[in-house]
Amino acid sequence: MSLMHEFEKRARQLGIPLSVQLDITWHCNERCVHCYLDHDGVGEMSTAKIKDVIRQLAESGTFFLTVSGGEPLVRRDCFEILGYARSLKFNVKLKTNALKIGPTEAQRLRALGIEQVQISIYSHRAEVHDAITKVPGSLNRSLEAIRFLRAQEIKVSITDVLMSQNLSDAKAVRQLAQDLGVLFEVDPTVTPKLNGDHSIVKLGITGDQLQKVFHTEEFVGNVKEFCAPVPTVDAGVLDDSTCSAGITSCYISPTGDVYPCVQFPLPCGNLRTQSFSEIWRDSRPLREVRSIRVRDLHTCSKCAHIAYCTRCPGLAHMEGDLLGISTADCAKSAARVMDGEPS
């Protein structure tokens, strides 16, 4: 077992929120067609309040802090917030479109010791990427920023959200990532908006396309391992929790709402009126989420794929049933095996 798994296991036993994503704003300087956020949100936490939240997270034992948005760098206090988090010795990742990162910002991120910067790139062709972000010139600006970050030896990860609009460019984006010396991962799921609007899900790739992606070495590594035969379902699997959301990780919105995960819009409390530890310890929704075991899932517990399915409880919740299926993950499980559908 790796040290990371040991930490995760210990955090689970001790009830520690090891990983937290903190969105400091939902405002953004791009308008991506598949974005799950409402950018017109108001009532963001102040700098002082965000620092207070970060201090509380440190006291609660959080180690991994992902600062995201919206576009976090549209907040003028973003570097102050990042610096405060680093002064409390968090492992900090920054999710950004990088449009506001020039040589100076890259130097500042290096000086702060940011662990990794994650940037979404949807195509190697400006006409495709810019059509998705709806910002002319955004691909070139993001790629230029990646070069500034790499010049500072900052780890960068490119995420490519696969949609019918850009799927054919994914291999070229992977090559681009290799040329830039950065990590690359594909995200094959377009999630519903946090407000419950499912209209953007149709932008995603089809089941057949997903199966091709999952059987392509460039995207999943060793295809045979990734699409391994379905493991036997035993009691251990059925007694497992379904996900780390709400157990060792959570999400905090710019307005201070606490959710189990960024794609799990189940309100658990608000940091303007309650302390983080109070919400983490006593929230009834969090307690409910933590109590769920695989055997409680009325459909999935009987499915042959459950032992390795990546079922997302947040997506199941958004489909209306916390104990039900996540259609997107059923499709992923089916696509990972050579010849099977979920039972």
């Binding site: 001790l14 180690f63 010795k89 900090v92 010791g113 780890k155």
Partner: protein, 100 residues
């Protein structure tokens, strides 16, 4: 025994977890778990207290271990962490790096 000074690098992430200390090097993302003794040394690494004094005050005074063995173990531990940029080591006092 030459004086050796150690200081915590600012280029790390660290958090206590269940009696141990999780530390990740920003230089190479190596993850470490420090036990109670190692944590005591790491926390005392202020750049101005000689390692020998740290061993006597923070290790021998608290744990049942003889000073020579403790110092030899501490030197090995310090060397290992220094290779990953987690501790700074010098034969002179070191200015604190922890302000960002």
């Amino acid at each position: 025994m030459n004086s050796k000074y150690i200081a915590r690098s600012s280029a790390i992430a660290a958090r206590p977890l269940g009696g141990e200390m999780m530390i990740m090097s920003a230089r190479d993302s190596t993850l470490f778990s420090l036990n109670e003794v190692a944590t005591a040394i790491w926390e005392a690494a202020d750049g101005t207290t000689p390692l020998a004094d740290i061993v006597v005050l923070r290790v021998c005074a608290k744990f049942e271990i003889d000073p020579e063995t403790a110092y030899a173990d501490a030197e090995e531990f310090v060397s290992n962490l220094a290779q990953h940029g987690i501790l700074l080591v010098s034969d002179q006092p070191i200015e604190s790096q922890e302000e960002l």
